[in-house]
Symmetry: C2
Amino acid sequence: MRNIDEDTITQAVLARHAGAADTRMRDVMTSLVQHLHAFVRDVKLTKTEWFEGIRFLTETGHITDERRQEFILLSDVLGVSMLVTALNNRKPEGCTEATVFGPFHVPDAPEYALGDDVANGARGEPTFVRGHVRGLTGEGIPDAEIQVWQADQDGFYDVQLPGVDQYQARGILRSAADGGFHFRSILAESYPIPHDGPVGRLLEQLGRHPWRPAHLHFMIIAPGYRQLITHVFRQGDRYLDSDAVFGVRSSLIADWIRHEPGIAPDGSTLAEPFHTLDFDFVLDRT
Amino acid sequence: MRNIDEDTITQAVLARHAGAADTRMRDVMTSLVQHLHAFVRDVKLTKTEWFEGIRFLTETGHITDERRQEFILLSDVLGVSMLVTALNNRKPEGCTEATVFGPFHVPDAPEYALGDDVANGARGEPTFVRGHVRGLTGEGIPDAEIQVWQADQDGFYDVQLPGVDQYQARGILRSAADGGFHFRSILAESYPIPHDGPVGRLLEQLGRHPWRPAHLHFMIIAPGYRQLITHVFRQGDRYLDSDAVFGVRSSLIADWIRHEPGIAPDGSTLAEPFHTLDFDFVLDRT
């Protein structure tokens, strides 16, 4: 191929990897090259803009480390993470919908018994969460692994707080014989995604805010059922219609009901206001 | 927007930046999001593949530093750099075609007089380069700034060699009153692009080699004319049909003619074989 120009380049690139041993890899790269080239042609990308793109990616790479994943953040704000989630979680009517995983899950959260306080010192108004894990025909799913995680009242996850060396506001529980679960935590609040890096500047240039509506993360694992990764979003939050990472689905919005100080669902007497959240999860069979 | 799913996500993302102050930025990002989402849908990207993509970009960012630009390399091997070059260098018939800039140009190369040896110690068989810088009507362009740079006989540019602290095989010359130029350098050889990083592994997975055909870089700047960034490629090179970065255009291929030891074009007597290259550049008026 000695006649590379704007009309022949795409086919030239595709022809070069036509013999790739991994055909899935070949097909993915074929589509990627076609769309990347179509983008460049559509906007007639200038040299200066191309170089800005190179600089943006370089900066995104340099700010990424073991505590911060700016490329996932970029995927999130461009709606790519939610699109991948939606495409890979098509489910029958009645199942709980999935949403983005986010960058704040940890694999080794502490285990708790039902009824425990997973806050473990995280700051926020007490919240009592109750629900059931069920199958599509209504059956309770016993012994399901329920992982929960959330930000504190200031919008920070434990892993974002330099001084905190124990896991807070996250934990692993197991559903009871009837699929029921309950635990204590703190009130979910809206918060901005990390926006002091290149992704934050991109949002600013696009006239977008970095906020996510208040939510509580769940990952539920039970043998014989498909794993569910989702959030429950807090009804009334001002960012429900403009989640910076496009994670909101109507079916995942629920009321956190506020209660005056008094007797809490766990029988204790609280001198401060508290909240209750009821939410059931319905899993699809594998 | 509370009904984000695979059908609504793209419009949701575009709507979010509809009010961006910079309309060019908005249009570029609109096209990018559309094509990125179309790619994800076309191949039905899995969660695992998405995460592989995140890891690839992260690694590409981490290997990039002041001496190595892996994102430009990625753009090069995917044909994006050449596409941007072609789109931004549409020219009238008869003008010298442009090709990729590459990552090895430096802005402060040493200046030389016509006839000088720009090799400056770089290893390779002596080569005498001659030509004219002309306009479309044949007029010689005097005092044009001619920047040249190339790899040595082992395929390395000076900036890639740890022990070398002076610029080698690169320089800036100025054309004579009739547009003519001549200088001495070394023979251009084919070489592999840096392939010990993520881009190299990508090429391997795609069944592609990392080689570039032998070439000599030129950047020519003259008032009243459009700047030209191009290469001259060496006729007969085995990689002319498979340049790893898709830079070859037929009109840029020329003969490096080999001569037995004897009297060189500059009048000196050489005890080793040498080469001559004749190439004229035709610039478009601004």
